[in-house]
Symmetry: C2
Subunit: 219 residues, 2 copies
DNA sequence: GACTCCCAACCGAACGTTCGGTCGGTACTG
DNA sequence: CAGTACCGACCGAACGTTCGGTTGGGAGTC
């Protein structure tokens, strides 16, 4: 908490610099982006950039922090779905919410790969390492109860929710960030429906009743 | 095919340069790697590098081509499994073969992300765009026959084989290339078994008999 | 209100270094 | 002696960062 309220000019400049740097880092990489480019793109001077940031890497780190804050925001639809823990009934909603996230945070997602290549993943290690634990905290109790009630089959629901989340994230990243739309040879929405069917029912035929072609059809 | 057999010195130098460049590009990125670094690492001179390659980008392109050749080599165990088209019975073998590929081609895999960031994915577009078609060519006929025979349930086997392949590839890439082992909170082998179970049987309980905890157990 | 003072915000030329790429030359091979 | 392989000094441009200097609005004083 600052004693005096900060100069609004400063906040604006920092925001402009970060926005410009995000666009450049995510499309060129860290080393390939120069401070002069960031300055030109943000409308600031090189000197001013160094007034607000101690060096180029600090700008990158601020962007990673910003991404983390954005993606953990409880107001995000995806995080509200996690909080309700209605997996796997809410798979359609989760898939849609992840598509939203990838759309909204495209350049930040690319920063992750910049980090992996140019910083050996130094800045994003914590995220991946903590992932399993966060899913356990969110879904662990609920899944135990439901498993006891016979809601699940042989597959581990904890693995399933992680696979589903990471897979949708990866799929939409390739679609939207790697610039290869339709890489499954079908519309993303169609592919998503198939992914969900696969996750719920698996590939092998179900020993019970006949082929019910689509459970979403009219009863 | 060259008219005259090439000078063996030349071939050796090119191979050394490519090997050095692969290590550097994959751990630093393209722009962050200098021709002087490649020269020092390969034991060649800068002038000699430019004798064998017209510029830095050509070295990168040669590496991408090399990756494509390696990964499409029919002698590769993974490609032999694809040729047999025994999905989904061979899921365990496929998963193991993909782990092998990721292990063997780690630095090349990272080049893909370098390409996405620093070249807008220009050099790897063809791979992703042709993916669905290649799977169709390999598995299409076989799956049609088996689907008619009732071997599959509601999920599309073509989507399933693509999901399985890409998922294993992605999972092992994060494990081995992003430097985040155990990111699912369990050993990769255990995780793989769970993935396979999920792909085969799905998450929901099967309407037939009781909970058979593990179909691999004694009959 | 007029004045001074102060300091964060801001600028851009300049520094030493490194970059991708060139080129004139030497060494070796056939 | 022709031709390929190879070398490293060299070029101009661009790099990250520094630094001396300008500016403008708020606090303090009368």
């Amino acid at each position: 908490m600052p004693i005096t309220s900060p100069d609004p000019r400063s906040e604006l400049s920092v925001a402009q610099a970060l926005e410009a740097a995000l666009g450049l880092f995510s499309t060129q990489g860290f080393r390939a982006t120069s401070m002069r480019q960031i300055a030109a793109e943000s409308g600031l001077s090189v000197g001013n950039l160094y007034h607000h940031f101690s060096n180029k890497e600090e700008i990158f780190e601020r962007l990673i922090d910003q991404y983390w804050e954005l993606v953990t925001d409880p107001r995000l639809r995806l995080n509200q779905l996690f909080a309700k823990a209605d997996f796997p009934e809410d798979l359609e909603e989760v898939a849609g919410a992840i598509e939203e996230v990838v759309d909204a945070f495209k350049p930040y997602i690319l920063l992750v790969y910049v980090d992996v290549i140019e910083f050996e993943g130094r800045h994003i290690h914590a995220f991946y390492e903590g992932m399993a634990g966060r899913f356990r905290d969110t879904y662990g109790e609920r899944f135990r109860d439901r498993q006891a009630a016979g809601d699940f089959g042989e597959a581990d629901p904890m693995v399933a929710v992680m696979v589903a989340t990471r897979w949708f994230f990866y799929f939409y990243t390739v679609e939207k960030c790697f610039g290869v739309p339709m890489h499954f040879g079908m519309k993303p929405k169609e592919a998503t429906q198939e992914f969900i069917r696969l996750l719920r029912y698996g590939l092998l035929p179900r020993p019970g009743g006949e082929h019910t072609q689509d459970p979403a059809g009219p009863a």
